[in-house]
Symmetry: C2
Subunit: 338 residues, 2 copies
DNA sequence: CGCTGCGTTTACAACGTTGTACTCAGCTGG
DNA sequence: CCAGCTGAGTACAACGTTGTAAACGCAGCG
């Protein structure tokens, strides 16, 4: 029965409520004979502890929240699945929030959602204002995903965006391309991830002695297929259009590929394209997409571990910064043509 | 503060705890002057009700679970986002479970998860055994998504899969295609959705006087890009290969498009391709994909409403079957070539 | 002036769990 | 033979909320 309580188990086993509780949690010493009887009663009645009562008493619910800008973006869906798996492995449950990329919503979530039910929050910030976050009053245990800003008093899990972007750009350079565009430069205020990818791109160009042409870095308002398409169209109107594009995520790249196709360009012959995120569809696009593959599983595991540690340690413990790996996956969209 | 309680608010407003509770829930009559004072105190202290205590007292947590076979499948990610939005509109929160398409896991979830925290469950079943489900003991309020079986004692939300599949097949026929393959026939036991789509396909062929060739319906083990690719490769080895393919979802279609491209086939000239689900990437694939677009938002809203009604009504109320709309979206992959 | 009735507010007891402090029996060592 | 100890189990209160039932103040009426 769903409504089985410690009391029911206790009566059936002929012991006190507290003894059953002790058996369930396994913390106190219980005589073997007693434990056995209790366990049988638990099995007979199919007892399941009531999470709310437990939470009320202990202040721990075993539920953590994962807040992403947009669940339908494949990268975040894939990340969410990994986080759910990692949390399950550690005995806790994940509640997913979709911030819609709104700064207000992100701040609300960073400040502890509307409800003390949540033990802690994993937040993948998009527009979050650093100062607003730095000043947050309610100290809900918080771990940030994929950002880095020393201003924000929180744990971070990230990959080395700058090195990854440099590696992707180096790869395009190694194909002999010299007019390498970049899609993903935000029109509004930059957020940390973008700044770092841009930095990696510029570093690679500089190291290769290729001057940076600002016209090859069109503004985008979001990391979507539509924006990728728009940016690509803009690039193709240039007198001297690019021979390669590095997109800051795979959706942008997908839009760019689409437009290249509409304009009759052969990829990679006329235009090499690289993305970032390695979402599953990029393996199946036509042509398949070269992309930076962050270790999503690693990110998820590091993040859940860090959050659980933070929950245990309290707000005073020093903030940590954890780095997950990545890998450049070369596919058709940049493969040397025969 | 996160730890603000009714008691704190009551003290500040100079009233009893219960009066504050009454104001918060707005059910009982409270004098205007009192309410105003209480509201000010609530605002001053930034009071947020404690969900666990409330749940413990009322038996309602405001949390519903959504269980999908695979969150990373774009269709389910898009559906999940719609469900989250629909639930938020109605003041409740969604906990997402990923069953991994396992029958055991689905049954476990249909039987109420491990925890009475959840008020009800939205389940998108894949392999669920009807008899196991019919016999489930714990009657957690349950609404099934996208299935139809009169054996299962539960509410259903679905679209008319058969009519939709027929419409898609009719469309391919209208292009003059006669060797129309179908990808998505399961190798193992069929589940309801597949049966219905197959039925729609066969009905359309029959109405057009086109005989059904079983070799044009290869087995698939899952609705993935990889399986779509495998099935397409198999179809292309036939002596008399198809001139059109109807895929039971967009991922299969994506795999099929990919293979068609590898074999140098021009879509739709040599091969017309249609899918099912209208996931966002299908708008951006090369070529863009003709597909059946279920009204995901409608499905989500109907489902959440039905679940909330079921939670209120108890297990005894008669089971309902709700139908959401769909639409055939014609894109390049079947557009008449110039 | 007291009684009735109404609208508003309150005291109290739960909901199921766990931490603290306690009891109790059996055993050890002096 | 008893003090002191240990290990096992228990009683009680509390976590923050809400339903029930009762109390309160006030107006109107007899």
């Amino acid at each position: 029965m769903a409504g089985t309580r410690l009391k029911d188990v206790a009566e059936r086993a002929g012991v006190s409520i507290k003894t059953v509780s002790n058996v369930v949690r396994g913390e106190t010493r219980v005589a073997d004979r007693t434990r056995e009887r209790v366990l049988r009663a638990i099995a007979d009645l199919d007892y399941q502890p009531n999470a709310s009562a437990r939470h009320l008493r202990t202040g721990r619910s075993g539920i953590i929240a994962l807040a992403v800008p947009e669940l339908v973006a494949p990268y975040f869906a894939e990340l969410a699945a990994q986080v759910i798996a990692a949390a399950k492995k550690r005995g806790c449950t994940v509640l997913i929030e979709d911030t819609g990329g709104s700064a207000d919503e992100e701040l609300r979530i960073a400040c502890g959602l509307s409800d003390p039910l949540i033990d802690g929050v994993l937040l993948s910030p998009l527009r979050l204002d650093e100062q607003a976050l730095a000043a947050r009053e309610r100290r809900v245990p918080l771990v940030l995903l994929g950002e880095r800003s020393y201003e924000i008093p929180a744990d971070h899990v990230l990959i080395d965006n700058s090195a990854a972007a440099r590696e992707a750009t180096d790869h395009l350079l190694s194909l002999g391309r010299r007019r390498i565009a970049v899609i993903g430069q935000p029109s509004g205020p930059a957020h940390a991830t973008t700044v770092q990818r841009m930095h990696g791109y510029l570093t690679a160009l500089h190291a290769a002695g290729v001057p940076h042409d600002p016209r090859l870095a069109p503004d985008t308002r979001a990391f979507t297929r539509a924006e990728g398409a728009t940016a690509m169209r803009a690039l193709l109107t240039l007198d001297d259009p690019p021979d390669a594009v590095f997109c800051f995520n795979d959706l942008l790249a997908s839009g760019a590929l689409r437009v290249a196709h509409e304009h009759g360009l052969r990829v990679p012959h006329d235009l090499a394209v690289a993305g970032f995120d390695d979402v599953e569809e990029s393996r199946y696009s036509v042509p398949s997409l070269t992309t930076v593959a962050p270790d999503k599983r690693g990110i998820a595991e590091l993040a859940v571990d860090a959050l659980l540690r933070r929950i245990d340690a309290g707000a005073m413990a020093p903030h940590t910064r954890l780095t997950a790996g990545y890998e450049l996956v070369v596919r058709e969209s940049t493969r040397a043509t025969g």
